[in-house]
């Protein structure tokens, strides 16, 4: 403990730490100092930015023929089954959720669909705000009324960390389990398949680990707003 470096000693080693080429005792002692010195931590973060930026300067190169297909196959091999059900509009919707505005949801969906599918789906996107018990916004929920029964959820991060479930129901009063998810440090986006028992989806709720409902959302069509967007 008492042998941990001073600021000067730590800063001298910060370049090698940022490059991740400092080993053994020196690294351990520098880490110990960094644990209690915000100034040196911030200096190290700046040097790490330099290290991370350098690869951007390397020239691009054309990969071998078939690289993209082989890479996607490798990625797909480990893909959870439910994810494959997510339809063609997923990217556009997730993109819009990331932006966070209903108008752009409709606009992006429209752009995407123009490439590959008839625009009817864009007119039947359902979007709603997810709110807590006090009515404060927690995120948004989007359901495209296409052949794929999928719900997209974007949380803005104000839920406490922990495990949650998303339930949904149709016009009946019976809830069906839709998806289990964890809230970590950052905002979360996910897509989940809606079970037939909850279709057509009218209401979703978020339940925490203790079984309390922490958020809910009634879904309403925003198709009419599409043209304005």
């Amino acid at each position: 403990m008492s042998s941990a470096y001073t600021c000067v000693e730590t800063r001298a080693r910060a370049p090698e730490m940022a490059l991740d080429v400092l080993g053994g005792t020196e690294r351990a002692e520098a880490l110990e100092h960094l644990g209690s010195c915000a100034v040196c931590r911030s200096y190290l973060a700046e040097l790490t930015e330099v290290v991370d930026a350098l690869p951007v300067l390397i020239a691009e190169a054309d990969p071998p023929v078939g690289f993209e297909r082989r890479t996607l196959e490798r990625m797909g091999a480990a893909e959870p089954r439910w994810r494959r059900r997510v339809g063609r509009t997923a990217v556009a919707l997730i993109a819009a959720l990331a932006v966070g505005a209903a108008a752009s949801i409709v606009r992006v969906v429209g752009v995407r669909l123009a490439e590959s599918e008839p625009p009817r789906v864009a007119a039947t996107v359902t979007e709603a705000r997810l709110v807590d018990r006090d009515g404060s916004p927690l995120g948004s929920v989007v359901v495209p009324t296409g052949s794929e029964h999928v719900v997209f959820v974007a949380l803005d991060g104000s839920l406490p960390r922990g495990a949650y479930t998303l339930d949904g129901r149709d016009d009946s009063r019976v809830w069906s389990h839709v998806h289990r998810f964890d809230v970590g440090r950052s905002a979360a986006h996910f897509a989940a398949a809606i079970p037939d028992s909850a279709w057509p989806l009218r209401v979703v709720r978020v339940v925490d680990a203790s079984g309390s409902t922490v958020a809910r959302s009634a879904l309403h069509p925003v198709g009419a707003a599409a043209r304005a967007g």
């Binding site: 370049p15 090698e16 700046e46 991370d52 951007v56 190169a61 490798r74 480990a78 990217v91 490439e115």
Partner: protein, 189 residues
């Protein structure tokens, strides 16, 4: 034809969307493969490294934090780590590192330079002005993952000298980035 932002594409990838995955790979493959090839120096192994980098990006897509850097920076830093791991496990590191930092005639080309952030332009400029010894030492550490002792052995100078060169190079680049106050646009804190 694909106007979705890098961040949105990554969010789609995190959600497991196959279209997002395809668009993501298409958008980044030349940069990722270019970096892998520069570090590894051999096309077959470079392809393996680039592919592993994409798999890792896909697995960790939901952990990306935009406050820490842009999507391309994040993706390439993952590729760099994978490539260095590959070198460390392999039969031997390339004798003459192809991963030498680029000369000023390489890189994305003029039209790409126009779209690069100010900080990247300053960084490249600072790099071009590094003394060759410092540049070599930095390159060996950055792209081969060599420690100061290993750099010294490779170049034929004492550890202390190698260490000084790495540190000096980093400090020059750091002050180039810090100049004009900017941490760059990308919303970094």
């Amino acid at each position: 034809m694909w106007s979705v932002s890098d961040d949105a594409l990554l969010a789609g990838l995190a959600a497991g969307d196959p279209d997002a995955a395809a668009a993501f790979v298409e958008r980044f493959q030349r940069r990722v493969y270019g970096l892998a090839l520069a570090i590894i120096g051999e096309p077959r192994a470079a392809e393996e490294v680039a592919r592993e980098a994409f798999v890792r990006v896909w697995r960790h897509a939901s952990t990306y934090d935009p406050r820490r850097g842009t999507v391309p920076t994040w993706v390439l830093s993952i590729c760099r780590s994978v490539a260095i791991e590959h070198l460390a496990l392999g039969p031997g590191r390339p004798l003459d590192p192809a991963g030498t930092l680029p000369a000023d005639d390489t890189g994305g080309g003029p039209e790409e330079a126009a779209t690069m952030g100010d900080d990247i332009v300053r960084l490249r400029d600072a790099l071009d002005h590094l003394p060759p010894d410092e540049r070599r030492a930095l390159s060996l550490a950055e792209f081969q993952g060599l420690t100061a002792a290993e750099v010294g052995a490779r170049v034929g100078v004492p550890v202390f000298t190698a260490q000084s060169r790495i540190r000096a190079a980093m400090l020059r680049l750091h002050s180039a980035l810090a100049r004009e106050g900017g941490r760059g646009e990308g919303g970094r804190a």
